[in-house]
């Protein structure tokens, strides 16, 4: 957080309104047409999951990125919001109340807000480790409650409802995933827009100020504690909305929605995407969901790769994926991004190939160790080969070593190009 300057609040003097609205219009268009590109139900299910994670990650980044508060128990706000929504769903069904499904996430948000208000009242007094540890403790306590207080949380089986028993909303019954997708997409846009606008309000700006320098903020008339409290509540609200969306999509909430694993992964998702930029968590959520659902179909070792990815990201790109993208903005503005294309092809491509080679080696070792006796045949990257023969090994080792060697060799060239692309013409370098 320290090095990724958050300039997103800078008002562009006289900046055209259209310019500011462009990303949103593009988002609307993309969200509207993407189900026609990926039409299968499973793709839509995965996109729903992504959208929910995006809302949650954006809400989490209101704390971490914008408020500088590290929470280890944020899943509980999403979870409690979701649980309440399922209960409401069941009430609506039992008593035939006229509550249309599309407004349900709002209730999730309100309950998330309610819980955040209670917890925030004592946890936001201090920032830093005190806050982090209280969030951990509270998160553990509520997660533990989920198996103890069965009446509300339903034990490990959770609580389930049925989204279709409510009243049809303009004739839509939400029987199919695609209907749910558009509902979730609507809420995703609405909450993302609200969260974006929130970061431009006085309290949103002061959240940044308190993150950077709480003491100075105090001498400007703002109580750091109240600023943190309001950020916390707002974050709880949007996390609750994510919970409501979860309830609609999956129609079930369980202990896993509250536990530490969930809280930890949202931290990783947000960080992977980049906490310094508003859109960072969006990238993080998309990438992580793909890794979790698609890569896990590819290999049992997916968590090994995800772990390695996180460690590598934090070591080399602490600004996250968004940080990597934004690093190129100066060069693009100066119209010199073209200088980087060739060096990138020369370094990144071999690096990717080398990494794939390494992954292939790991997979082959895993295969030899764990596959059935006699099952020496394995398929990787559309190629079937015998894992016990020497040739594939040689090929993989060769690919790995060559890939990394090429990367290493071409790295100085990339550095030079990078330097040149980021130097204003005419100025001494």
């Amino acid at each position: 957080m320290s090095d990724t300057a958050s300039n997103n609040g800078t008002a562009q003097r006289g900046g055209s309104r259209l310019g500011a609205a462009t990303p949103w219009i593009v988002s609307i268009v993309i969200l509207a047409i993407i189900p026609f590109v990926f039409t299968s139900n499973s793709a839509i299910t995965i996109m729903n999951q992504m959208a929910i994670t995006i809302v949650f990650a954006l809400a989490y980044n209101m704390l971490l990125g914008q408020g500088g508060m590290l929470s280890f128990g944020h899943a509980v706000y999403m979870g409690v919001g979701g649980f309440m929504c399922v209960h409401i769903m069941n009430y609506v069904e039992d008593y035939s109340l006229p509550l249309p499904l599309p407004v349900l996430p709002l209730f999730g948000g309100l309950f998330g807000l309610g819980l955040a208000t209670i917890v925030g009242s004592f946890s936001t007094r201090k920032a830093g480790t005190v806050f982090a540890m209280i969030s951990l403790g509270v998160g553990e306590l509520i997660a533990a409650c989920s198996v103890i207080i069965v009446a509300f949380f339903g034990g490990e089986e959770g609580v389930s409802g049925d989204r279709t028993y409510g009243l049809p909303f303009f004739g839509i019954e939400f029987l199919h995933q695609i209907e749910v997708y558009y509902l979730i997409a609507f809420w995703l846009l609405l909450s993302a827009l609200l969260m974006f606008l929130y970061s431009r309000t006085p309290i949103g700006r002061m959240a940044n100020a308190v993150r950077d320098n709480p003491e100075r903020a105090e001498f400007l008339g703002y109580s750091a504690r109240w600023v943190r409290f309001f950020s916390f509540c707002a974050s709880g609200f949007f996390a609750g909305i994510a919970g409501g969306l979860f309830a609609i999509n999956y129609e079930i909430l369980t202990e896993e929605n509250l536990n530490l694993v969930q809280s930890g992964s949202i931290l990783l998702i947000t960080f992977l995407g980049g906490v310094g930029y508003f859109f960072g968590p969006i990238i993080g959520a998309v990438v992580f969901t793909l890794l979790q659902t698609v890569l896990s179909l590819e290999t049992e070792l997916w968590q090994l790769y995800v772990g390695a990815l996180f460690v590598a990201t934090v070591m080399y790109f602490p600004g996250g994926l968004a940080g990597i993208l934004m690093m190129h903005m100066p060069a693009i503005r100066m119209g010199k991004a073209g200088l980087l294309v060739m060096p990138y092809i020369k370094t990144v491509l071999p690096a990717i190939i080398g990494t794939l080679g390494l992954a292939a080696l790991i997979e082959t070792i895993f295969h030899i160790r764990h596959a059935a006796t006699g099952d020496e045949e394995m398929t990787l990257f559309w190629t079937t080969f015998n894992s016990h023969s020497v040739l594939p090994w040689l090929v993989m080792i060769l690919v790995t070593v060559t890939g990394y060697w090429l990367t290493r060799r071409n790295l100085p060239e990339l550095r030079r190009a990078w330097h040149e692309a980021n130097t204003i013409d005419g100025s001494p370098s």
């Binding site: 990926f38 039409t39 299968s40 139900n41 499973s42 793709a43 299910t45 995965i46 999951q49 533990a144 198996v147 103890i148 034990g155 490990e156 089986e157 959770g158 389930s160 049925d162 279709t164 029987l175 199919h176 995933q177 979860f246 999956y250 129609e251 079930i252 369980t254 202990e255 896993e256 929605n257 979790q292 659902t293 698609v294 896990s296 179909l297 590819e298 290999t299 049992e300 070792l301 997916w302 968590q303 997979e363 895993f366 295969h367 764990h370 596959a371 059935a372 006796t373 006699g374 099952d375 394995m378 398929t379 990787l380 559309w382």
Partner: protein
């Protein structure tokens, strides 16, 4: 990477191109269970058993219908209900019509509800849920539905069998019940109290408690209480590291009576108990591993040859595969799952592990022999964890709980 890798590529394509081509010659069965994370060992082991059973019991014998083969497709649900629902959707999109799952009643509960809703909302792509291990009684009672079949004996049935055995042994006068604090642990405890009260009112229940699931680091305090209560039998539904931790602590602190359990076998647990658990651990389970039937021993030998590191820890898997094959043959189609389900209802089957399996039509619960299996190294031909230790049947209740009541009100399509 076995099958996972092979199907992986196609699953990505399935995301890009609209799937729905169910014209493959193979009849695919989706195995949705944890293949990564803390419960992965049970999951991978189960996947091995399914793959082997499909190969050995069906494909090697010519397949079903006109030579269609079974293909097991593994889906990693990370033991998360949410992930299970996503993977279910992916499986359905790949044209898979048969779902097998077993680990965690929470996941089973999420799946059975999701499948019920899916089948109601999408009559064109209905699927069957063959639950081989989740034993929460509710799944074949209040929460039952037409699409769900359970091949394991549920917790109540096992307890019924167990209490039958306890009722006959006069040495047992004081029983201590301990379990994990969640639905299954509670179901075991309440069934034990109720059934012991009916069958042996003289037995004193000296302890009945729940501990947080997966959070206890050291079971010694619990063991102390058990020893101090002078119990001469312990009943527990614990599994995984909670089972090992509890069992080791209890034995270490000087307890010598039987520990009646549901899941103290395989996944390293048998090996880790080793000599210390001999004569103490008594598992109540279907599937008589030892002494083995001739067919069973052949099956096991072939299995070990292929998977030297794996166990036949869930014998019922062979029943799932064989009975599904039979049902498909009877129905004459693998695409019409209603017909297959109707064929499964009321089916009687001779298990390779001995005894019969009968699918009760009222609730789709498999009724079968339930055994009390002692952890020992004597007379073990089918061992677990390659430890030379394994379960040997000491008592058998035939067709356990055949006439037990069910609250299931099955709605048929």
């Amino acid at each position: 990477m076995r099958i996972t890798t092979r199907i992986g590529v196609s699953s990505v394509l399935a995301l890009a191109i609209s799937a729905g081509a169910a014209f493959a010659e193979n009849i695919k069965i989706a195995f949705i269970d944890p293949l990564s994370g803390p419960f992965a060992s049970t999951g991978t082991n189960g996947l091995n058993q399914y793959e082997f059973a499909a190969q050995y019991l069906v494909n090697d014998k010519g397949g079903v219908l006109d030579g269609d083969m079974f293909e097991i497709v593994g889906f990693d649900n990370k033991i998360s209900p949410k992930e299970s629902l996503i993977q279910l959707q992916v499986a359905i999109d790949q044209g898979i019509r048969y779902i097998v799952q077993g680990n965690s009643s929470g996941v089973a509960n999420a799946l059975t509800e999701a499948i019920e809703k899916h089948n109601r909302r999408n009559p064109d792509s209905r699927v069957l849920f063959l639950n081989y291990s989740a034993v929460d009684p509710a799944l074949t009672n209040d929460k039952c539905n037409f699409w769900h079949f359970r091949f394991d004996a549920n917790a109540d049935i096992k307890m019924d069998a167990l209490t039958d055995v306890i009722a006959q042994s006069d040495d047992i006068t004081k029983v201590y019940i301990i379990g994990q604090d969640y639905s299954f642990g509670k179901a075991v405890a309440s069934a034990a109290v109720e059934m012991l009260g009916e069958k042996r009112p003289d037995i004193e229940i000296v302890g009945n408690e729940l501990h947080p699931i997966g959070k206890v680091k050291d079971f010694t305090p619990y063991a102390r209480k058990i020893v101090a209560s002078e119990a001469n039998a312990v009943i527990t539904g614990n599994w995984g590291s909670d089972m090992l931790g509890l069992g080791k602590a209890v034995i270490e602190n000087g307890y010598t009576g039987p520990i009646f359990n549901y899941y103290a076998g395989s996944d390293g647990i048998t090996a880790a108990f080793g000599e210390s658990g001999k004569g103490i651990l008594m598992q109540v389970s279907e599937g008589k591993l030892n002494p083995p039937e001739e067919k069973a021993l052949e099956y096991f030998t072939a299995f070990r040859e292929k998977y030297p590191e794996s166990d036949v820890s869930q014998p019922r898997i062979t029943n799932v595969i064989e009975m599904l094959a039979k049902a498909i043959d009877q129905a004459g189609t693998a695409d019409d799952v209603v017909a297959v389900a109707n064929a499964l209802e009321g089916m009687e089957h001779d298990s390779i592990w001995g005894g019969k399996v009968f699918i009760r039509p009222q609730d789709h619960q498999a009724i079968q022999d339930v055994h009390i299996l002692a952890h020992t190294n004597e007379g073990v031909q089918i061992d677990l964890d390659n430890s030379e230790f394994g379960p040997v049947a000491v008592n058998t209740v035939e067709m356990a709980a055949m006439d037990s009541a069910t609250t299931c009100k099955m709605k048929r399509p």
